[in-house]
Amino acid sequence: MPSFDKEKCRAMFSDPSWDFETIQAADELTTWIGKEYFKLDIYTNQIEIVTSEQMLDAYALIGLPTSYPHWKFGKDFVMNQNSYRKGQMGLSYEMVINSDPCISYNMENNSTCMMVLVIAHACQGHNAFFKNNYMFKDWTSADSIIDYMVFARDFVMKCEDEFGHEEVERVLDACHALMEHGIDKYKKPPKLSSQKENERLKRLAKAKHESYNELLKTLPPASRVKKTKFDKNSKYPLEPEENLLYFIEKNAPTLPGWKRELVRIVRKVSQYYYPQTMTKVMNEGFATFMHYHIIHKMFELEYLNDGFMLEFIKSHTGVIYQPPFDNPYFSGINPYTLGFNIFMDIKRICENPTEEDRYWFPNLIGRNWLDEVIYAMENFRDDSFIAQYLSPKVIRDMKLFAVYDDEDSEFYEISAIHNERGYRKVREFLSNQYDRSYRVPDIQVDSVDIHKTSKLTLMHKIQHEKLLDEHDANDTLQYIRYLWEFPVELHSRNRAGIDEDFMSAK
């Protein structure tokens, strides 16, 4: 039980201007409530108060406290700054980083109510999600990301000194084009740490140094090792590889070591963001669910007064507002709304199930809602979460419907609505919409002509007849050509195994 005087808290939290005591109180109270009432297991919080300018900086570095230098971040900064100055864009109230300790940036011009809200939202909700969701557990190491970014920054700067800005920039540009294709989906990467990375580099250099032999240099550079491994007819690689950056890093025939290292850095960063892109709905939904419950608990325990609650409810409804598809403000499905609604519905089904729920979710009936919510938070990602938990009630409440868009047809066809026949379809389609392949084309390394030309062949597997944007694909191919340093081909193959499209960079 915290030692806070309820009366003092009420006064403090209803004073529109906050001080550090307010923030400390909000942090301690929410942490205590999160732990006692909602079983939240979190990283230690590091709450940082920042100005709008610093928030813009944080935006540009996609939330990390530091990153390697690159013009792309400068461009994002300039764009954000422009739209912020023109008033087209508001800055978010907080930004939270998947790190241990969990760093969250809070804007200095938040009102007291907003401060309490974002502390409950980010420092409890997101924080617990980062620590416990399986995607984050498997794919990121929160304790070492900042350390690694420091290593990456120093390494890139060292390369700039040694090899020139232009060359470093070209490598990074090329890698950025492949960021979406630099992700391991099935293997768990080892932990990152700048010290270990530096040691690894040193070992590499040392091994090279020791095994260097002037005599060997005069031998023809035949790939002796490869020959023993693969006979002439065998294909390399034996299995297709979907992590293009990884493949280039490990297999580009003549790429110098420092470039390989840059490829690796971008790949690691891309991997770090992978869970976040896969759990947007869940992450925001859970954080919103948590701030909603924590603030209500604080009110119930008389730490907050009515005025505070009015402001809170106004902000909360703003956050979960979902404009309908034909509204000018519509810009896709609001992940806060969808996630919050599903989590709230899990709670409702556990507590007050209807006949329909008994049929759809027999496993949830009569269970402890908190355990079920935590279980869902820990073990799913957006597509599986929706496939598992999107209930008919949420579909009805949000009036979800599915449209079939065939490029050859002159019509859109409504393929499912919120009725008995449509629930399963809507759920399936919406789940697919959050599947990675919906957004990112499936492109894999098919083969390398290791004996003659070193030509790299990539295979795009066409899904749902979606073709690549030709112009962008061509530019990207040029980037791959630059990294690979030998000709590159890209085949687009449909399900029947017929190549529909072909492009190359010689």
């Binding site: 550090f20 942090d27 301690e28 942490t31 230690t44 709450i47 920042v50 300018e53 610093q54 540009a60 230098p69 013009w71 792309k72 971040f73 400068g74 900064f77 300039v78 764009m79 422009n82 300790p101 940036y105 420092c123 920039e169 540009d173 084009a177 492949l178 979406e180 294709h181 598809f325 034909d326 509204n327 499905i333 009036k399 979800l400 419907f401 599915a402 449209v403 079939y404 868009d405 490029e407 002159e410 019509f411 066809e413 409504i414 393929s415 499912a416 919120h418 026949r421 449509g422 389609f429 919409q433 084309p441 749902h464 979606k466 073709l467 690549l468 944007d469 030709e470 962008d472 694909a473």
Partner: protein
């Protein structure tokens, strides 16, 4: 335990470095936009801390992505009002581009076709005057107005308390304390040995007394003594100031309309900006003339309107007079820019001007530019008279009749000798 940090006082501008990289990336576009910017009015307030906006077309970051118009897709949307399963809705006319943007809203792509980079004045000038140089730029140092800069120069024993260097003083103090105490310590050590050796009671008492005396003395070594104190020392380093004076001479007779004056003003502004890039101090002298010449303030120079005929020579005489009186040739870099519509009262006046320029003005000035603002038709007397001086290295003349020509003419006047005009 949570950690609450106030970052607001931290240095902002983490992105400055990346912003510079980005600017470098769009350098070509910025340079291309410069003539347009001059044609717009934005340069007029160039003396202030103004900022300049340069529109940039998006620079692409390509990646493999789906063509949003291709394929067969199931799309889920919220807020159904009237649709039922199986309904068909016609695609909007010219299907594709119109519908496309809303469609792809799942991807966080931002449209960035046109966005604006805001350059600070310094950044802008850098691009603005790149590849240009001032002809005959000789740095004349002002003898009278020498500036001084403070420079750190080691330590000194005498100075004011606010410059006390504590670390250094403490080092001195430590050394002194150790060395002085060392003397006492040695003596005491010796006496103690003697004490152990003697048997005689009287001698013992004497030795003990001596030891206590020395030990008391040992404690009197002061922590800080005057000799320990060290102060940061600064030296005054003379900073020569390079300065220039720019004479702006403009014809304000009836024939100079708003349009002509506007062109002249823009040209003068450019020249001033350019000079202030090169010299630390630039003074301006405004001279206007119709039948007589007069030195005026900036406001009056550009804004008031007069009528009457044109006699040019008095303005040049006035300039010469001011230069001799106030800006001695040995200390000032003198620049002169004359703008006129080329009308003169008589051929005699024009010839006068030519003579003045040749004999009195050109030998003393660094550079003089003459711009004639009119549609090149018949050569006026003045143009004709000045033409003879074209071979002089520090004299240039150009004709301008439209705002859009200002920048090319300016570049032509000041381009680096080894660069061919693009």
């Amino acid at each position: 335990m949570s950690n609450i940090v106030d970052r607001r006082k931290n240095a902002k501008g983490k992105s400055i470095n990346n912003r510079q990289k980005f600017l470098k990336r769009v350098e070509d576009q910025i340079k291309k936009a410069i003539p347009d910017i001059i044609n717009q009015e934005s340069i007029k307030d160039s003396t202030g801390e103004g900022k300049v906006k340069v529109p940039i077309r998006g620079i692409k970051e390509p990646n493999f992505r789906h063509d949003p118009h291709s394929g067969k897709k199931q799309i889920v949307r919220p807020g159904n009002k009237q649709f039922n399963e199986g309904d068909k809705v016609a695609k909007p006319e010219g299907s594709g581009s119109g519908a496309g943007q809303g469609k792809g809203s799942n991807s966080p792509e931002v449209t960035e076709d046109d966005f604006v980079v805001i350059l600070s004045r310094d950044e802008f000038l850098k691009y603005f005057f790149e590849d240009l140089e001032l002809p005959n730029m000789i740095k004349k140092y002002m003898a009278s107005t020498v500036d001084f800069r403070q420079q750190r120069a080691g330590f000194t024993k005498n100075s004011i308390p606010s410059r006390l260097n504590i670390v250094n003083s403490f080092q001195q103090s430590l050394a002194r304390q150790i060395s002085i105490r060392g003397v006492y310590d040695q003596k005491i050590k010796k006496l103690k040995l003697e004490l152990e050796a003697t048997e005689d009671a009287e001698a013992k008492a004497q030795l003990e007394e001596e030891i206590t005396r020395l030990e008391r003395l040992r404690l009197t070594v002061p922590f800080f003594d005057d000799v320990d104190l060290r102060y940061n020392h600064f030296e005054r380093v003379p900073q020569p100031v390079t300065s220039a004076v720019m004479f702006c001479i403009m014809d304000v007779s009836a024939s100079m309309g708003y349009h002509e004056k506007d062109i002249a003003k823009r040209f003068f502004t450019l020249l001033y900006l350019f000079l202030s890039k090169q010299y630390e101090r630039v003074e301006l002298v405004f001279i206007r003339h119709h039948t007589e010449a007069k030195e005026v303030g900036e406001e009056e120079f550009f804004n008031s309107r007069e009528s009457g005929g044109t006699v040019v020579a008095p303005s040049l005489r006035l300039m010469k007079k001011i230069a001799t009186e106030r800006y001695s040739e040995s200390q000032w870099n003198i620049y002169c820019c004359q703008a006129s519509d080329g009308d003169v009262w008589s051929n005699g006046d024009a010839i006068d001007c030519g003579q003045l320029l040749k004999n009195e003005i050109l030998p003393t000035v660094q550079y003089m530019a003459y711009i004639e603002i009119k549609n090149r038709g018949l050569e006026g007397y003045l143009w004709h008279a000045y033409k003879k001086l074209r071979s002089q290295e520090n004299f240039s003349m150009r004709n301008i009749n439209d705002i859009s020509q200002i920048w090319p003419v300016f570049r032509a006047l000041f381009k680096k000798k080894d660069l061919v005009e693009s």
